[in-house]
């Protein structure tokens, strides 16, 4: 039986939607996030993917009132840029309890652009304010 590529992708998208999983584009525009809104989620780190072009933090988020627990995916910039902001590949580890401030996806799926993460297990906090780095001679 032949499936057209479109049909397979549609089926995959339905699967993702049903599972509450968020497809994340590699190296896409950050316009898919609503920078006027800030959402906070809490949960535990599922995986901290320290790779190019974008570092991704997967979080097993606790449910909020009226919403079941879900896997959220948070987008960050490249490891090179993050290193300059004080991050490193061991900043977050699977199982760490975290609280994350994020700009949510406009389409309402469980994902966003990470603003700040507080790791309650290690007591460390990391943020991604890249505008603060728009000048020469940074220390």
């Amino acid at each position: 039986m032949n499936h057209t590529p479109t049909r397979s992708l549609f089926a995959a998208a339905l699967l993702w939607a049903a599972a509450g999983l968020v497809p994340v584009l590699a190296h896409h525009s950050f316009a898919m996030f609503d920078f006027a809104k800030v959402v906070t989620i809490t949960g535990t780190v599922k995986e901290f993917q320290w790779t190019n072009p974008h570092v991704i933090l997967w979080v097993n988020a606790d449910g909020t009132a009226g919403e079941a627990p879900a896997v959220w995916s948070l987008e960050l910039t490249s490891p090179g840029n993050l290193t300059r902001g004080g991050w490193d590949r061991k900043a977050l580890n699977a199982g760490d309890k975290v609280s994350v401030d994020l700009n949510p996806l406009r389409n309402g799926n469980h994902g966003g652009a990470l603003i700040k993460v507080t790791d309650e297990t290690t007591g460390k906090a990391f943020s991604t304010n890249l505008r603060a780095y728009e000048k020469p001679g940074l220390q």
Partner: protein, 275 residues
């Protein structure tokens, strides 16, 4: 004073012949890259200091989308408006999701990553963070463009110094190379792209790239715009390796304990989240 003798004249003549033989043909007219001389290396010391790591002024890139609009051809402007609408609606189409180089001119226009500039005799080389393919070789040895260069992502670039300004002329860019104003808005140059840049310092630590982009297939007229980069000297800003494709790979061990990279299952360029 002594009389000049025949031997003096002979010695002088031999010296002249020896000097002429040593200089050789001008660099622009040879098929070889001559070995650099001590004089060539000394000349580099007199070039403006572009050392350090250059980080892009991203907010200014975004500001210029409205403040310094691209003169698209009318039919292209319609495509761009549709892309902007999709971006506004939260459905941006990523132009650079395939890990191919940003290329010319988009590297200079929309990069979010640092680069460094190296001087060697006859050349200025830009090395970008992220991917081994982000290299611009700008030949400053007086050569011209080849008559029919193989098209590449970064094109063929030749440059010369006018005081502290490097004037760069680039042709031979692949038609597929984007003219992008953001990571989700842009069109391929579609061929016959010609970029002239005047790159210079403004103050001690800002590098300005004044670009003039001629792209008759998509631009109604040549587009003059400027992109700005900040100099960083702290070692934590050293350029690091960044391999775009690595993001699509998972690290696994095989039955022998060998560490291997295995592609992450993907659909339409999106990594499927871990189970």
């Amino acid at each position: 004073m002594e009389d000049v003798t025949g031997m003096d004249i002979l010695r002088f003549s031999l010296l002249l012949v020896a000097l002429t033989a040593a200089t050789g043909a001008p660099a622009g007219e040879t098929d070889a890259n001559p070995a650099p001389t001590t004089k060539d290396w000394a000349a580099i010391a007199r070039l403006p200091d572009w050392s350090g790591v250059w980080t892009p002024f991203v907010s200014d890139q975004n500001r210029r989308i409205k403040a310094d609009p691209t003169p698209w051809r009318p039919e292209v402007a319609k495509q761009v408006a549709a892309m902007e609408a999709e971006e506004e609606a939260g459905r941006p189409r990523g132009l650079f999701i395939d890990c191919l180089p940003e290329g010319m001119p988009s590297w200079m226009l929309i990069t979010h990553n640092a680069f460094e500039v190296l001087y060697t005799p006859g050349r200025v080389t830009l090395l970008g963070e992220m991917d081994g393919n982000r290299i611009r070789r700008i030949y400053t040895d007086g050569r011209g463009h080849p008559p029919d260069p193989d098209p590449t992502f970064h094109g063929h670039s030749i440059g010369h110094w006018e005081g502290g300004t490097l004037v760069v002329d680039t042709i031979g860019v692949l038609p597929q190379s984007w003219i992008a104003v953001s990571e989700a808005v842009g069109v391929p140059n579609n061929g016959d792209l010609h970029v002239v840049e005047r790159i210079h310092l403004e103050g001690a630590d800002r590098l300005y790239d004044d670009l003039e982009i001629t792209a008759p297939k998509v631009l109604a007229r040549p587009w003059k715009t400027t992109r700005i980069y900040f100099r960083q000297r702290a070692r934590k800003y050293d350029i690091v390796e960044g391999v775009c494709l690595q993001g699509g790979m998972a690290s696994k061990q095989d039955e022998y304990g060998n560490w291997l990279y295995v592609p992450i299952p993907q659909e339409d360029g999106n990594p499927v989240p871990p189970k």
